[in-house]
Symmetry: C2
Subunit: 309 residues, 2 copies
C-alpha cells in the first residue's frame, strides 16, 4: 500500500491528504435540512448529512489527490449511525481509488491491539469465513504502550500489505507535556521516532517503509530532526492551514527525492467555503470551493518544495 | 458517578470489575452455533454470539459486582455489527444498575477529543435535539497527546458527572519502553501520575476524584508509589489473573480506607469454564463458572486486604 501511495503522490504531484473530519457546523444548511427531512433530527439524520457532504467533496477532489484521512472520532460521536457513515465513506473513497488513512489513533496491548488491527486493516475470522470490518488502507496508532501495542498492527500490515502512521510528535500546543520530556538528554519523541525507524526496517516497500510516523506541521524544527532519524518512514503531517502550518514550514519533512511526507488539511479544505477567500463561490457550491482550496494547497507546497531545491 | 462506584464497592465488598472482552474462542460452542444458525457465519452472527454470551455472564454475576468493563476493540473487530453488540451490552449492564467503564483508550487533540468524549460519555447536538451515542459511565483515555487531549474529556465529565481512567502505567511487558524512561531522574509514568492528580483536583466526588488512573497489577512496586502520588485518584488495575497479578500484589494499590482501587479480570472470569479449576461445571454452565470465579476473586482480594491490615 505504501507503493500505491508513493505512486499516486508522484502522479498527482500532490503530497497531500484531505481530512474528512465533518463537524455538523461545517456542513452547508441545505444538506443538513435535506438529511433531517429524510431522517429527522436524529443520529441517522446527522450521519446522512455527513455522508452526503463527504460524497460531494470526494467527487469534487478525487482526481487531484492521492489520499483521504477520515477522522473516526467525528463519526463515532454520532454512535452507530455515525460509524456507518464512516464505513460508507471508506468504501466510497476506495471505489474512487483513493488511499484511505483511517485516523483512529488506537493502541492497546497484545490481543486487544490485534483486534483493532483486524477490524481496521485486517480480517476477522467468523466460523469458516473471514470478514474485513472497516478495511482502511492505513491507520494511525498511539505508541504509549510500547512494542506490545504496536507489533500486532505490524503483523497485520505484513500480511495484508497495509500501513501505519505512528504518533511521534503531535501538532497540538500541549504535545510537549510528555513528548518533549528529555530522556538521557534527548526528547521522548526522538526515542519514539527511533523505534518507528526500527519497526519500519523489516516492512519496506520499494523505497519507503509502510510503517510511517505522525509529526505535526506546527513543529518544523523537530520535523527536520525526525526526518533524519526516520529516513525511510513516510511522515503524515497534520496541522497545515487551520492549525497554523504553511508550505514553507514543511520542506524539511520531505526527503531530497521530493517524497517522504504527506500533508493533511481538514477544515481548510472541507470547510473552505467558509473562508473569506472562497466565500464568493457560495455555500451551495461548497465542493467547488474545496477543489479550489486543494489546488491552492498543492501550489503552496509544490512552490515551497521547488523554492527549496 | 465516582460516588456511585464507591458506594457500590462498599456495598458489594467487591473492588472488582468484570472485563467483558469476548473473543469468539471464549464463547461456548452451543452459543456460537445458535447464533450462526440464526444469522449465518457473518459479522452479525459473531455479534449475536457475543451478545448472548455477555448477557448470560451479566445475569449470573451482576448482584456480586459493582462494575463491568467492556473492551471496545473486541467488538470493533466485528465492524458495525460488533459495535452494535457493544452498545447493547452497555445498555443492558446499565439496566442492571452496573457502572460501565468503556475501555476505549481514546485520545486525540482539541475538537477531536471532544468528539470522542461526546460520543462515549456525553451528548451530541443534532439540530435542536441531543443524543448520547454510546453512553458509558467512565472511559479510559490515553495521555500521550497531553492536556489538550485530556481536557475535553474532563469538561464532559464535569458536565455529565461521569469519569475517566487515564493510562499511567500499563500492565504489558513492554510498557516500560516509553513509560519508564527517566525524566529528570523520575520515570515518565510518575510525571503522568502527577498530571492525573492535578487534573483530578477540581473534579472531586465525595471522597475520590472522578479522574482516575490505570496502573497494571503486574507492577506492584510502581503501584505503591503511584498510590502516594495520586491519593485521591481511583486506580483501575488490569493484569489480575491471566496476566499474572494476584491478590497479595494488589494491597498497595488501595488506600487505608480499603478503597481507591478497582481490579479488573477479563479472561479469568468470562472464560473461567475453560480453567481446570472450574472445568467440571461444564461448558453449558459457563456462566455459573464465571460466578464462582467472581466469588473466588473477591475472596482472594478481600483476604489480601484483611491480611494487610
Amino acid at each position: 500500500m505504501i507503493n500505491k501511495l508513493t505512486e499516486k503522490i508522484r502522479k498527482t504531484h500532490a503530497p497531500i491528504v484531505v481530512g474528512l473530519d465533518p463537524m455538523l457546523n461545517y456542513i452547508p444548511k441545505h444538506i443538513q435540512e435535506a438529511a433531517f427531512k429524510a431522517c429527522g433530527e436524529t443520529l441517522e439524520g446527522a450521519a446522512e448529512a455527513i455522508w452526503q457532504f463527504n460524497k460531494e467533496i470526494v467527487d469534487a477532489t478525487y482526481d487531484l489527490i492521492p489520499a483521504v484521512k477520515p477522522q473516526i472520532a467525528m463519526y463515532e460521536q454520532f454512535g452507530i449511525p455515525g460509524l456507518m457513515a464512516f464505513k460508507k465513506t471508506v468504501d466510497y473513497c476506495k471505489e474512487k481509488d483513493l488511499v484511505v488513512i483511517g485516523d483512529i489513533k488506537r493502541g492497546d496491548i497484545g490481543s486487544t491491539s490485534a483486534a483493532y488491527a483486524a477490524g481496521h486493516i485486517g480480517k476477522v475470522q467468523v466460523g469458516s469465513k473471514e470478514y474485513a470490518g472497516f478495511d482502511e488502507d492505513f491507520v494511525t496508532v498511539n505508541p504509549y504502550l510500547g512494542s506490545d501495542g504496536v507489533n500486532p498492527f505490524i503483523d497485520v500490515c505484513k500480511k495484508e500489505k497495509k500501513g501505519l502512521f505512528i504518533l511521534v510528535k503531535t501538532s497540538n500546543p500541549s504535545s510537549g507535556e510528555f513528548q518533549d520530556q528529555l530522556v538521557n538528554g534527548r526528547p521522548l519523541y526522538e526515542l519514539v521516532g527511533q523505534k518507528v525507524a526500527e519497526w519500519g526496517q523489516e516492512c519496506m516497500g520499494d523505497t519507503y517503509s509502510y510503517i510511517g510516523a505522525v509529526v505535526g506541521a506546527t513543529y518544523p524544527e523537530m520535523g527536520k530532526i525526525l526526518r533524519r532519524i526516520m529516513p525511510k518512514a513516510y511522515i503524515l503531517v497534520p496541522g497545515y492551514g487551520a492549525q497554523g502550518g504553511q508550505g514553507k514550514d514543511l520542506v524539511h519533512f520531505f526527503n531530497e527525492d521530493g517524497l517522504g511526507a504527506i500533508v493533511n488539511s481538514s477544515r481548510g479544505i472541507i470547510a473552505a467555503y467558509k473562508q473569506e477567500k472562497y466565500a464568493k463561490m457560495g455555500e451551495a457550491d461548497f465542493a467547488d470551493a474545496s477543489r479550489k482550496a486543494v489546488e491552492d494547497m498543492i501550489a503552496d507546497i509544490d512552490g515551497a518544495l521547488q523554492a527549496a531545491k
